[in-house]
C-alpha cells in the first residue's frame, strides 16, 4: 500500500510533465518531443517484471558508489518509470481532446503557451481522463506485488509464505479479496467524481 501511494504521487507528476513535453509546439522543441516519445515507447514496450529485475538486481550489481541498493527504492522507481509511460499517454489523449479553438482563444487573449496549458487545457484534460487514470492506478496497485520479487514482503508474498508452510491455498483467496476490497471503493469514488463533474457541467449549461 505504501509502495502504491508513493509511486502514484510521482507518476501523476512525472507523467503530466512527459505529456506536456510531448505536446510542445514548433520545431525548436523537437528534441524534447522526441525524448518524450522515446521514453514512452521504451517503458511501455518492456515488461514491468523485466524493468524490476533490471533495476532491482542489475543496477545494484554494478556496485556503483553512491547508488542505492535498496530493493524498495528500485521497486518504486521501476513502477514509476513504467506507469508514467502509460499515464503520460492517457494525459496526452486528454490534452488533445481539448478543442484547438480553446487554446487559440486563450492565446488571442494574451495568455502565454504555459498559461494556456495551466489554466485552460490541463484542467479540462485531466477531468476527461479520470476514468482511464483510475484504470492505470488499479493496475499499478496490483503490480506492486511484482516488487516482492526483489525481496520485499508484500501481500502476495506473505500469502505465498503461508501457502508454502501449509500446502493450503486459502491465503491466496484471502489476498485476492484484500486487493478487491481496496480497488472497489476506489472505483466507486471515481464514479462519484465523474457524476459530480457531469452535474456541474450540465448546471453550467442551464445558467
Amino acid at each position: 500500500m505504501k509502495i502504491f501511494l508513493v509511486s502514484e504521487v510521482f507518476i501523476l507528476v512525472f507523467a503530466l510533465a512527459i505529456a506536456v513535453l510531448r505536446s510542445l509546439p514548433g520545431p525548436v522543441f523537437f528534441p524534447l518531443r522526441a525524448l518524450a516519445v522515446v521514453y514512452v515507447d521504451l517503458f511501455r514496450g518492456v515488461p514491468t517484471i523485466l524493468v524490476i529485475y533490471i533495476l532491482g538486481f542489475g543496477v545494484p550489481a554494478l556496485q556503483l558508489p553512491g547508488v542505492p541498493i535498496d530493493p524498495l527504492f528500485w521497486g518504486v522507481v521501476s513502477l514509476v518509470l513504467v506507469y508514467s509511460a502509460y499515464v503520460a499517454e492517457v494525459y496526452r489523449a486528454g490534452i488533445e481532446s481539448v478543442h484547438p479553438s480553446q487554446s487559440a482563444a486563450a492565446r488571442s487573449l494574451g495568455l502565454t503557451h504555459g498559461q494556456t496549458l495551466r489554466f485552460v487545457v490541463i484542467p479540462q484534460a485531466v477531468r476527461r481522463v479520470i476514468p482511464p487514470l483510475l484504470n492505470d492506478f488499479i493496475g499499478l496497485q496490483k503490480d506492486t506485488a511484482l516488487v516482492g520479487l526483489l525481496g520485499v514482503v508484500e501481500a502476495f508474498r506473505q500469502s505465498q509464505i503461508e501457502v508454502a508452510a501449509s500446502f493450503n491455498y486459502t491465503p491466496y483467496i484471502a489476498t485476492a479479496i484484500l486487493f478487491i476490497a481496496l480497488t472497489i471503493p476506489l472505483a466507486r469514488f471515481t464514479d462519484w467524481l465523474i457524476a459530480r463533474d457531469k452535474r456541474r457541467l450540465q448546471a453550467g449549461r442551464l445558467a
Binding site: 538486481f57 520479487l149 526483489l150 525481496g151 514482503v153 509464505i161 501449509s166
Partner: protein, 290 residues
Amino acid sequence: MRTVLFGLTLTTLALALVATATGNPAAPAAIPGCAKGSLNLLNEGQLTLATDNPAFNPWWAGGSKTKDWELNDPSTGQGYESAVAYGIAKRLGFTKAQVTWKAVPFTRSFAPGKKPFDWYMAQVSAYPERRKAVTFSTSYYNVNQAVAGLKSNPISKVRSLAGLKKYRLGASVGTTSYNYIVKYIKPDQAPRVYDSVADVVTALKNKQIDGLVTDFPSMGYITNVQVPGSTVVGRLPNQGGVQEYFGLVFQKGNPLVRCINKAITQMRNDGTLKRLEVRWLGQKGAPILK
C-alpha cells in the same frame, strides 16, 4: 554463466572421481510383503518419479544436460537424491530401465488432484502442516539450515544465533530457511524473501542482504562457485527438539509409502544412506551456531 558452468564441470568431475573410488554398495536384501507386483503404482511395473527442473547439485549430479533437463538428468543415478531413488528402486526389485523421471515444479508437487508421479523428491521438508495435503516418507536426509555471508561483511565473524539478529537476512519463499529466520533468529530488520534461491544468491552478491539462509548441503555450491568471497558463517541448530528432514512426497494416503519407508529404513540401517551422504554431500564441517 560460463564460470558457473565451468565450476560445475569441475565439481562434477571431482564427484565422478569420488564415485568411482568408493565402489558399488553391497547387494540388497528383498523386503518382505513388498513384492514388485503388489505395489500401488501409477504405471504397473514402472516407478514414475519426479523432481524439479533444473535439478541442482549436489542433490543431482552428472551435469548431463538433456533436452528435458536443464542442469542434471536425474536418471544418471548421480547426486544424493538420484542415488537414493535408485537405491530404493533396487531394493524393491526395479531395474534402472524401469524408473522414469518427470520434471515437476515444486509448487505443483503439492497441488490438489491426482499426482502424475509415484513420488516426488526435491529437498522437500516434511512439516507436520504439510501432512494435511500430502503423505511424506520417513527421512532420507536430516537437514540443518545454514547461513552464508560475504567475508567482507561483519556477519562472517558471527558465532552465535543471537549475533545474527542485527543483520539483514534473505531466503527463498516457502522454505524452512525463511521460517527459521522468522521463528528462531527473529532479526531486527524484516527478512527479504525471494522467488528462488538463485535470486537470494544474486541479492547476496549485490550486498542487498548480509546473510543468505538455506539448507547446509546447498551451501557448498553457493559459497565455492556462485558467490566469490563468500563463506559459510555456520550451521543453524535444530530447534524445539525437532529434527528437520527431507521426505519423499506421495499422493495423500498412498499405501506405497509403507514399502518405500521399509526400503529407506533398510538403507539407513545398513549404512547406505550414510555412505551416499559422504559421497555426494560430504563437505568440510561448519560450526553450529549456538
